[in-house]
């Protein structure tokens, strides 16, 4: 009886261990499969990252190669011409700089003031939520719509014509939501106990905003503003809609002058049937990319400096 029981027990355990072995084999297979999926997924993601990067690198490389041969002093300082070889980008380059300066001058004070109102003054009400909703929605409106608005409001109703001022106002509207949002984030990052410290010392709300909140958020605001302006630099659609010049033989002299801008110049040259003009467009693109790179580098540097400065907060 006992022996049989032992026998049974043995065979049973044997069967058990066999099953366990089998089980562990299955488990191992499952693990291998899981690992394989893991790796394959990572690899797919890697490809998904690299494919667009490669295409982008190819595009930029191609543009730079055909553009660099055109870039020289005569190209930078030259005026448009019917002949590709003697055409330059000077009016467009100057126009872009004027446009950016002017857009910044309009959008920065407006945007910062709106953000200060929303962050520091507005009480939570339907009115504040309405403004917030609009700011968020405006950020998603296609730029060509802003162009149409600019055409109607600034060019026609206000009678500014196809001028530098009309262009700058239109681009200001375009980047205003971005400036407002960036500034609000910057203001939010100033700890409330510093506001309280200022108020408890007998500071008025205005003086605390001017002497504590803004100085502490200024570099973050500037970073946001630079990124916003970098977006505006590359815009062509709204400028085309308001009727900015693509062929301009002079430098804009005042706010109501006609103007051109780099993206418009590029657009106009790309449309030409002659291959030489496409090289010109490449050259202008390289210049535009350089300007953008300078802006972005400045923004990155400012952000870095701000992180260092605010380590003690």
């Amino acid at each position: 009886m006992k022996a049989i029981t032992d026998q049974d027990y043995l065979s049973e355990t044997k069967g058990k261990s066999e099953r366990a072995l089998l089980d562990s084999a299955f488990i191992a297979r499952d693990e291998r499969r899981a690992q394989l999926i893991e790796r394959a997924f990572g690899f797919l993601c890697l490809i998904a990252t690299f494919l667009p990067l490669c295409i982008l690198a190819f595009l930029i490389g191609d543009t730079v190669i055909s553009g660099l041969q055109r870039i020289n002093l005569a190209f930078i300082l030259g005026f448009p011409s019917r002949f590709a070889a003697s055409a330059g980008i000077f009016p467009a380059l100057v126009g872009t700089f004027y446009l950016m300066t002017l857009t910044m001058t309009i959008a920065l004070p407006l945007g910062v003031a709106s953000a200060i109102y929303l962050e520091e003054y507005a009480k939570d009400s339907w009115f504040k939520r309405l403004i917030e909703l609009n700011v968020t929605n405006l950020a998603g409106v296609p730029s060509i719509i802003f162009g149409l608005l600019g055409l109607e409001l600034f060019v026609r109703i206000l009678g500014l014509g196809q001028s530098l001022m009309a262009g700058a106002l239109t681009l200001s509207l375009l980047i205003l939501p971005v400036v407002i949002t960036a500034t609000r984030e910057a203001l939010k990052s100033v700890p409330n106990n510093l506001r309280e410290a200022g108020l408890a010392l007998g500071g008025s709300k205005v003086s605390v905003i001017l002497r504590v909140v803004l100085p502490l958020s200024m570099s973050q605001i500037t970073t946001g503003a630079i990124l916003a302006i970098a977006r505006a630099i590359g815009e062509s659609a709204p400028l085309i809609v308001i009727g900015a010049a693509t062929y301009l033989a002079f430098i804009p002299t005042d706010l109501l002058s006609e103007f051109s801008a780099l993206p418009l110049q590029i657009f106009q040259w790309v449309e030409r049937p002659q291959a030489d003009f496409v090289d010109n467009a490449s050259g202008a693109i390289v210049v535009l990319l350089l300007v953008l790179a300078i802006f972005n580098a400045t923004a990155a540097w400012l952000r870095h400096r701000q992180e260092k400065n605010r380590g003690s907060l």
Binding site: P191, N193, G198, A200, L201, G202, G203, S207, R211, S312
Partner: protein, 256 residues
């Protein structure tokens, strides 16, 4: 130095509401100059809310309603027409967490109160700063680096800088909202010594979680519970022979 000896603050049936929540419930007490009034009580008993109503710091928070009166030298600071900014200049405040302005130097921090006001062209700035830093027992530690950023100081030094900043404005009343809760024991001891020295010239109110601290620094102690003032008495008497059972339960550690 101005004469502050007569400055007193009296709260008459003071109640503070956050929306529907009654945080301070019908509190009447007197804060005298030349002594330290400690406010103790468990978390959420309304002691911070109470002290913040003494210099109108609630003005900036939506939904806070202050009822009753707070008299500063006989004038209700919540009366219509009273300028809250001028009240805050007379009633200085130091907060729980040291909060020097990180973008200003030590010297700029001490004088920051003046930069908020229109009296920017004050004379003898260095003199004022030196006096305030000496009053806050910080001068010797920072005199060689007045232009260093305030972040270079330790937590305790930063808190004394905040006290110096408040003292530079020559307030009559000094409110301390748990000024040592973020500090180590040595820094705490230095600030307690400082409070002891300062009390001769100011009416000082200190909110504290720490009963030993209240016993060490104050002459009068008020015990708050659920927004109500349970008992206010001389500190010695309140801690040795409280007249209310609830106070005794708290100071003997039965709860809280």
């Amino acid at each position: 130095m101005k004469q502050h000896a007569t400055s007193t603050m009296i709260t008459n049936n003071l109640s503070v509401r956050y929306g529907n929540h009654l945080a301070v419930d019908n509190v009447s007490l007197t804060i005298k100059s030349g002594q330290v009034t400690a406010i103790i009580g468990p978390s959420g008993c309304g002691k911070s809310t109470f002290i913040r109503s003494l210099n109108r710091m609630h003005d900036f928070i939506d939904d806070v309603k202050v009822e009753g009166a707070i008299l500063l030298d006989g004038v209700d600071i919540y009366a219509p027409g009273v300028d809250a900014v001028s009240i805050r200049r007379r009633v200085g405040m130091v907060f729980q967490k040291p909060n020097p302005f990180p973008h200003m130097s030590i010297l700029q921090n001490v004088l920051s109160g003046f930069s908020f006001t229109r009296k920017k062209a004050i004379k003898r700035k260095e003199e004022i700063a030196e006096k305030a830093l000496k009053s806050a027992a910080l001068f010797d530690e920072v005199k060689d680096r007045l232009h260093a950023p305030s972040g270079a100081l330790s937590g305790g030094q930063q808190q004394r800088l905040c006290i110096a900043r408040a003292l530079a404005m020559e307030p009559e009343v000094l409110l301390l909202d748990e000024p040592c809760s973020a500090l180590d024991p040595i820094s705490t001891a230095r600030i307690e010594d400082l409070i002891n020295v300062l009390r001769t010239n100011y009416a000082i109110v200190i909110v504290t979680h720490n009963m030993q601290q209240a016993a060490r620094v104050s002459q009068v102690t008020a015990y708050f519970l659920s927004g109500k003032l349970i008992e206010i008495d001389e500190t010695k008497k309140l801690f040795t022979n409280p007249s209310d059972q609830r106070t005794e339960d708290y100071i003997t550690g039965k709860f809280g």
